[in-house]
């Protein structure tokens, strides 16, 4: 019997081939079809949200099929309170990304089929419960993303795509080495996360494996100093692809850290957590400070991701229920917010012909709706109360400070974030245009702003009523923290 999770991967997989075939003759039909496919997957994920039982901390919607029995490989997928929000955001952002790619006209069929292929991979990563299956999907995300950046990206797209591919692949194979060590260390040999979670390993072994696996996740999150692929890839990718890069691809690292390091190697992760916290705080400040001095709007947004993903690692490394729940919620929220900001940077670039912040004066007059959206997005990004990021960052702080009082220095970071966002808004939105503007800004188009307006809904909804999502996350988060506490 094929379950809902498999259907959620099967729909975009089949859709990808159909879109490619349709795109060869009718580009418009291919676009519409791709959006419908993505939206159908989104509907299924919302159905999963409704039928999910939050109090049940074991895996739900579980599916198991033997794959390669002799080698401990099994097709086993399921969700819990940690993966469900990420699956929802994955299908949501893919839909938004497809809808906002309406203007793509170069090799349309291929573009949308790669986008749907990416969706298969990302849903697979968030649901697989076998390390090799996890790795399969992990790399399945990589190849479509490589082509999406390298064929539809900006002027330095080749460099950015290859840098992205090599960085993340090196991280991935190091992680794979850790998986193989786990396989060899447990009897009977297996790659199943649930069975590995019940096994116990000697401390020294755990430390080595935890470090190797963390390296792979750290490249994806990304943790400074493994972050240098991020600004290039995000800036060169077209705006809808930057959206899924920052909104979804980075989350693979944060998710993997919680799923693998905490489930399988709790003792070592607990021992190493001061180092993770230090790395997280360093990333938070590094991202914030470097973002402040950027001239390019898109590059600035890309660097805020380093800052915000630092909060994810901070919360996860704190290891208590609040920290982990905050980290997962932060991943959810950051996806929505950064997606909005990237789409805005794409639209501004298209209408004004530049992304340089100092040249964009007077945007508020020429493009009032875009400017309003930019304001809301910026407010959400630096954590204004009643917008979603505030709740998650606040939860992360509660968790982090109650675990490590020194982590309270990170509270300064949102102030820096607020400072550069307000400075940017001051220059772009709130200042009048110069008497002789260097650039001409075209009028905005309501249809292309529609996907962005949809993104406002979760920003406000989860800011005002966060328990809609936190109720799902919290029981599993406290279950995971109990895994650590029992050590």
């Amino acid at each position: 019997m094929i379950g809902i999770l498999s259907i959620m991967m099967l729909i975009p997989l089949v859709g990808a081939f159909v879109v490619y075939a349709v795109g060869r003759s009718n580009e418009k039909l291919a676009k519409i079809f791709a959006i419908i496919v993505a939206a159908a997957t989104l509907m299924l994920s919302l159905y999963m949200y409704i039928s999910f039982q939050p109090e049940n901390t074991s895996f739900q919607f579980l599916e198991e099929v033997e794959w390669v029995k002799a080698f401990g490989m099994k097709y086993i997928i399921g969700v819990d309170g940690i993966s469900l929000p990420l699956i929802i955001i994955a299908s949501f952002l893919t839909t938004i990304s497809a809808a906002s790619s309406w203007n793509i006209s170069y090799k349309t069929g291929k573009y949308f089929s790669l986008l749907l292929m990416f969706e298969v991979g990302i849903i697979g990563v968030f649901s697989s419960l076998n390390l090799i299956l996890f790795y399969f999907f992990w790399e399945l995300v990589l190849i479509p993303m490589f082509f999406l950046i390298s064929e539809w990206g900006g002027p330095r797209r080749t460099y950015a795509a290859i840098k992205f591919l090599i960085y993340t692949h090196v991280g991935a194979v190091t992680m794979l080495l850790g998986f193989m060590a786990l396989y060899a260390a447990v009897t009977p040999h297996t790659f199943n996360i649930l069975e590995l979670a019940n096994a116990s390993f000697p401390m020294q072994f755990q430390l080595m494996v935890a470090t190797a696996i963390f390296f792979g996740f750290a490249v994806k999150i990304p943790v400074v100093p493994l972050h240098t692929w991020l600004p290039d890839a995000h800036v060169e990718a077209p705006a809808p692809i930057s959206l899924i890069l920052a909104g979804l691809l980075l989350k693979m690292g944060g998710y993997g850290f919680i799923r693998v390091n905490y489930f399988i190697l709790p003792e070592a992760t607990k021992l190493l957590s001061p180092i993770f916290v230090a790395l997280a705080i360093f990333s938070i400040f590094y991202g914030a400070i470097v973002a402040m001095i950027q001239q390019d709007l898109k590059r600035m947004i890309a660097l805020t991701s380093i800052n915000h993903m630092g909060f994810v690692l901070l919360g996860a490394a704190a290891g208590n229920a609040a920290g982990i729940a905050g980290a997962v919620f932060q991943m959810f929220n950051h996806g929505v917010v950064v997606g909005l900001l990237f789409l805005l940077s794409g639209i501004i670039h298209e209408h004004a012909g530049t992304r340089t912040i100092n040249e964009l004066k007077g945007l508020g007059v020429k493009m009032p709706i875009t400017a309003t959206l930019l304001t809301i997005g910026s407010f959400a990004s630096f954590g204004l109360p009643f917008l979603n990021s505030f709740v998650s960052e606040f939860t992360v702080f509660i968790g982090a400070i109650s675990a490590y009082s020194l982590a309270s220095v990170a509270v300064i970071a949102p102030a820096i974030t607020a400072a550069y966002f307000l400075w940017m808004l001051n220059r772009v939105v709130f200042s009048p245009s110069e008497p002789k503007p260097k650039i001409s800004i075209h009028k905005e188009n309501l249809a292309e702003l529609l996907p962005l307006m949809i993104l406002i809904v979760p920003i406000v909804l989860f800011g005002v009523y966060p328990s809609l999502m936190l109720n799902v996350i919290y029981p599993t988060a406290s279950y995971v923290s109990a895994l650590l506490g029992s050590v």
Binding site: F71, R157, T158, H169, V170, V173, A181, Y183
Partner: protein, 482 residues
């Protein structure tokens, strides 16, 4: 009632086709050119492939036949399928690649004989049969490499291959004679028994014989420091022959190595397993580093195949059942991948006269099927799922971890990541760069397209459902000893 002697039926079929080919060529050459001969050769190989595939489920035990000259087990069937798969690919692609050549009768005869030599290597239960089989393969391939007799590169390649291969034969023969002096038999299974029951581990002659075997088989497998001839040979030979060499004849060396070290000399493993550990590390590292500096596609593929031989050797270094299973799986997978890659290079050279990596700029617009096949192969060779190169490497590296050779697994994993650097360069050229002026779309020959579609299907099938090759390889390995 099935008798195990029927297992040589496909060998007979291929021999008959090999010997009939010159006659067919003589009769049909004038009216049909090489079309009929090529068709006949492909037909013979496919018949062999089908019969061996049918035998795969029937043969369940290890049986010596013909007074212990040949052995029928799942191991020999496994390797025969590998060789025939590669030979079918090469022969099918040659249908278009060689069709202007006046001597096609000889070409297909030699191709079939070389394949026959490879298959007999896998079936050998006696050192002398092994030697004769390797010679049959080598002599046929000398001529195949120099087949473009007016091309100096082809001639240079053939001479290099000839000298190296003759040296390998001599060394192997010397090793056999020493082994005979020590044990008093050339039968692999009798030697194995003698080694198991006697104390030969510290005997100098047995030791020397092992050293010579490593050198002789090492030359066939092209592992360091015996790899020098590979790039010239693969680059100079007609590229369809390079596909056969990289996918087939090199793998015959690996088949021989397994019979020699795992069956005959398993009791002396303390003497040789550490050597293979070092050779595995050196071979993969050197292959990958030098491949990065290549400009011609075939030379890059040659170094890539050296690097992949290093990964395969991990199986021989760990000597556990996981490692040997991975050894066989990677031989099958690499045979498919590398022959496809060489045939893609052949297609580019044949259709558009493109030879260097820079020439491939914008190839995806000119030869879409070839580019797609080459892209899949490159990703698969780099070990990216869901392609088959990933699963066999996974098994190999896991075996290293199991055998407490974690550092070897680390080296393999890092090498694998490093290799993506030069594989991705080809993909970048084909898909991202725009073609040079005058790069118009050209037609791709049908025979190449058939090969590519079949290869892509196999790469995906063995990648997504590795149980197919894993279970077969596992059974083949477990039946190695009687």
């Amino acid at each position: 009632m099935f008798s195990v002697e029927y297992a040589i039926f496909p060998i007979v079929v291929i021999s008959v086709f090999a010997l009939a080919t010159p006659l067919i060529s003589y009769v049909t050459q004038r009216r049909f050119g090489g079309r009929i001969v090529a068709g006949g050769a492909v037909l013979g190989l496919i018949l062999g492939l089908i019969t061996f595939s049918m035998l795969a489920s029937v043969v369940t035990s290890t049986t010596l036949i013909y007074g212990g000259l040949l052995v029928v087990d799942r191991f020999s069937i496994f390797f025969s399928i590998v060789f025939l798969l590669v030979a079918v690919f090469a022969a099918l692609a040659s249908y278009d690649y060689m069709h202007e050549d006046p001597n096609q009768g000889e070409y297909y005869t030699l191709l079939l004989l070389a394949t026959l030599g490879m298959i007999l290597t896998a079936f050998s239960a006696n050192f002398l049969t092994l030697y004769v089989a390797l010679e049959l393969m080598s002599i046929s391939t000398y001529i195949l490499i120099s087949f473009r007799k007016k091309d100096p590169r082809s001639n240079e390649a053939a001479i290099k291959y000839f000298i190296v291969s003759a040296l390998a034969s001599v060394i192997i023969l010397y090793a056999i004679s020493l082994m005979f002096g020590v044990v008093g038999s050339t039968n692999i299974y009798i030697v194995a028994d003698a080694f198991r029951n006697g104390s030969y581990a510290s005997q100098p002659m047995a030791f020397l014989s092992i050293v010579l075997f490593i050198a002789g088989v090492g030359l066939e497998m092209a592992i360091i420091p015996f790899h020098m001839w590979i790039p010239d040979a693969y680059d100079g030979a007609p590229t369809t022959v390079s596909a056969l060499l990289a996918g087939g004849s090199k793998k015959a060396g690996f088949a021989a190595a397994l019979r020699i070290f795992i069956v005959a000399a398993i009791s002396l493993r303390a003497n040789w397993s550490a050597v293979f550990t070092v050779l595995a590390l050196g071979t993969m590292t050197l292959g990958n580093i030098v491949a990065l500096a290549q400009t011609r596609v075939t030379r890059m593929l040659a170094y890539s195949s050296i690097a992949q031989a290093g990964y395969i050797l991990i199986g021989l270094a760990t000597v556990n059942s996981t490692g040997l299973t991975g050894y066989l799986m990677h031989i099958l997978n690499h045979a498919i991948m590398t022959s496809t890659a060489f045939l893609a290079a052949a297609a580019a050279a044949y259709s558009a006269s493109l030879y260097t990596i820079d020439d491939y700029a914008g190839l995806s617009k000119r030869l879409p099927v070839t580019s797609f096949a080459l892209t899949i192969t490159m990703f698969s060779l780099a070990g990216i799922p869901p392609f088959c190169g990933f699963t066999s490497k996974l098994v190999l590296f896991t075996s290293a971890v199991e055998a407490n050779l974690g550092w070897l697994a680390l080296a393999g994993v890092l090498n694998s990541a490093f290799s993506l650097g030069y594989y991705i360069r080809v993909v970048k050229r084909m898909y991202i760069d725009s073609p040079k002026a005058g790069g118009l779309p050209v037609s791709e020959p049908l025979s190449f397209k058939i090969v590519f579609v079949a290869a892509i299907f196999l790469i995906l099938l063995l990648g997504m459902y590795p149980a197919l090759s894993l279970n077969f390889a596992d059974a083949a390995v477990s039946g190695l000893q009687i």
